[in-house]
């Protein structure tokens, strides 16, 4: 059976290339010999409850309001979250899964209440730029890298843990304490675009491991520059390219 990566509402939650996160997850499974497909949930489609990993991206205010209303009534998503399906939520996606968020015109909107976070608009300028963060989530060691572009301030409640701590002039959640992202139950939320899983393959593999258990070694396809093959995963135990395998005489 094919593994299913469920990409939620990319027409409205897809402003910053975040749909790439779903492609990265599926492709990393295929590179391990595991059949995998991205199941895209369009505006009129039901959310399947049996997906292996769920992915939400970023979006503008109006799009975020549409998305939260659409997903609030989705029993498929609710059931998937209740059974602990690993879920990646970026930017607007993170805010939607929280208790509430307040949009620029002051309207406070109830979220899906899966993550114990609340978001209000920031008072200063949007933080826009490259960001590096040291991971706080057990299982991650490499610094998290990507691009920040948001103005919201997200406060974590007692049931949410930060994903990472930003370095330098990064904003993270915008609360001034350098915390970045939110983790609660099976949900990993972040403000890091890039898309985040393309820039941080270890986070991709962590989500996949949570969904499917221990993964076979990753075999990067041939015909890629060696520097790129290394970026794609050679830092992980058991990761090697087809060329490595031939050299080893396997």
């Amino acid at each position: 059976m094919s593994a299913r990566i469920v990409l939620l509402l990319p027409e409205v939650l897809g402003t910053y290339g975040d749909a790439g996160n779903a492609a990265v997850l599926a492709t990393r499974l295929r590179w391990r010999g595991i059949d995998a497909a991205v199941h895209t949930v369009g505006w009129d489609d039901a959310v399947p409850e049996g997906g292996d990993v769920y992915v939400l991206g970023g979006g503008e205010d109006a799009a975020q309001l549409l998305a939260v209303d659409r997903l609030r009534d989705s029993t498929g998503l609710r059931r998937a979250l209740d059974r602990g399906a690993p879920t990646l939520a970026v930017c607007a996606g993170l805010q939607i899964l929280g208790r509430s968020f307040t949009v620029a015109d002051g309207t406070r909107v109830t979220g899906l209440e899966v993550l114990d976070v609340e978001t209000v608009p920031g008072r200063g300028a949007r933080r826009i730029g490259d960001v590096t963060a040291d991971p706080l989530l057990p299982g991650l060691t490499d610094p998290l890298v990507g691009f920040e572009n948001h103005g919201g301030v997200t406060t974590l409640g007692a049931d949410a843990a930060p994903l990472a701590r930003v370095r330098g002039n990064g904003a993270g959640n915008g609360t001034g304490d350098r915390l970045e992202g939110a983790v609660g139950g099976s949900v990993v939320g972040t403000y890091v675009h890039g898309p985040v899983l393309a820039r941080n393959p270890a986070l991709a593999d962590l989500l996949l491991t949570r969904a499917l258990g221990a993964l076979p070694p990753l075999e990067v396809p041939e015909g890629l520059p060696s520097s790129t093959a290394r970026r794609l995963g050679a830092r992980f135990p058991g990761a090697f390219t087809a060329a490595d395998r031939r050299r080893a005489g396997a």
């Binding site: 027409e11 790439g20 990265v24 505006w43 691009f147 675009h193 890629l224 520059p225 790129t228």
Partner: protein
């Protein structure tokens, strides 16, 4: 038209011409400096320079420079029309272009999306052309819906301007609908990535084939007055059964659509469609875009693609030809936008069958993107160098600064 200006403006114009000429002779910023000086000396100089002219303003995310060039040509070309053909599309550049062409009664200007309101307020345009709106440099320009809404505000503020807008693009149509009687241009379009939210009521927009409809307010794709159609060959079909074949040298679907815009605008300003179409025939490159440079052992065609919608157009164009080698160069300098996450909204999978080389400041991230797209490729230090290493015909596709770096080297 300088003689009708008040003394202060005349002084501004004379001083600006001097500086402009000097800057050009020394090769520095000739396309904007004159306008900047004139504006410092006389804040209202742009409005004064526009008085008595028929002004056409062209804006949108992609195709501004090419379409502006086509419209200027369709209206009679260099001898008749003032235009900012160097692509200097902010107020200083537009002022400079008007300074440089004091006697031309027609002015066709491309305008940066963010400055349409300001430029329209100064120039009282006869026509405003809205090509398309999609994500571009989110970190610098801002969110595309906000940009499109401001363009719509500018449209609403100029009820006397004839608005010519693209019906298939949801955000573009939303801005066009702010005019009482827009003229619609339509064609099959493949990019709907920023089209999920209604520009009028923020409701959900769904797409079925070429049609789009808002589920909340019922707003839908307007019927095109002018359409790009394909029978035996490509042609532009207008009102009252007018149909003119498009025999343009510029490649690709996007340029056939740009040409349809040019013919529609020219017709609005009294140029017969057949005459406009004939005038477009000789256009072979626009500011280096689509230019083919020959070199020992082959040739290099230069293409610009700076965002996902632009790439969709380039991929359409590459699909029309054989699977020639492609060099892709991506930078993320100030003029490009620093964020390269847009690379993930480009279906690079469609380059399968083309030998691919990546280059530019962000070649490492581009390489990762292509790896996930399943494309074997190599990384080169230098884009133009990579084309020289390749026999036969090669396409070099760059985003803004990467493209301009390449055109400069190949000049």
């Amino acid at each position: 038209m300088t003689d009708r200006l008040p003394p202060r403006a005349r002084l501004a114009v004379v001083a600006a011409r001097g500086v402009s000429g000097m800057a050009r002779r020394t090769g520095r910023h000739g396309s904007v400096i004159g306008g900047r000086v004139a504006t410092v000396l006389d804040r209202r100089v742009l409005a004064r320079l526009a008085v008595g002219r028929t002004v056409v303003l062209v804006t949108g995310t992609n195709g501004k420079t090419t379409t502006t060039s086509m419209i200027a040509r369709a209206l009679g070309g260099d001898g008749e029309v003032a235009t900012n053909h160097l692509g200097a599309n902010m107020p200083d550049g537009i002022t400079t272009a008007l300074l440089d062409a004091p006697d031309r009664r027609l002015a066709v200007m491309e305008v940066d999306e963010s400055y349409l309101g300001e430029v329209a307020a100064a120039t009282d345009p006869a026509a405003i052309v809205l090509l398309n709106f999609s994500r571009d440099q989110l970190d610098r320009v801002g969110e595309v819906r906000t940009v499109a809404r401001r363009v719509g505000d500018a449209v609403a503020a100029h009820p006397r301007a004839r608005v010519v807008a693209f019906a298939d693009d949801v955000l573009c149509a939303g801005a066009g609908l702010r005019s009482a009687a827009p003229l619609w241009v339509s064609s099959p379009s493949s990019w709907t990535g920023d089209a999920g939210v209604c520009p009028r009521c923020d409701g959900p927009v769904t797409h079925a084939g070429l049609r789009w409809t808002c589920g909340s307010c019922g707003c839908e794709r307007p019927p095109g007055n002018w359409a790009l159609v394909h029978d035996d060959g490509w042609s532009a079909r207008g009102p009252d059964g007018v149909e003119v074949p498009l025999e343009i040298a510029l490649p690709g679907h996007a340029n056939r659509l740009n040409a349809t815009f040019a013919i529609a605008v020219a017709a609005e300003l009294g140029v017969a469609p057949a005459v406009a179409a004939a005038r477009l025939r000789g256009l072979e490159q626009v500011g280096g875009r689509y230019r083919t440079v020959t070199r020992p052992g082959g040739s290099t065609r230069l293409l610009l693609a700076k965002n996902p919608a632009g790439w969709a157009q380039v991929l359409d164009l590459l699909d029309e030809g054989p699977g020639r080698p492609v060099v892709v160069a991506v930078n993320s300098r100030e003029a490009d936008g620093r964020d390269v996450s847009w690379l993930w909204d480009v279906p690079f999978e469609r380059l399968a069958g083309h030998p691919v080389v990546v280059a530019g400041d962000r070649s490492a991230e581009l390489s990762v993107r292509l790896a996930y797209a399943g494309l074997p490729h190599r990384i080169a230090d230098d884009a133009v160098g990579a084309t020289r290493d390749t026999l036969g015909a090669v396409d070099l596709v760059g985003n803004y600064t990467a493209f301009h770096d390449a055109t400069r080297v190949l000049a």
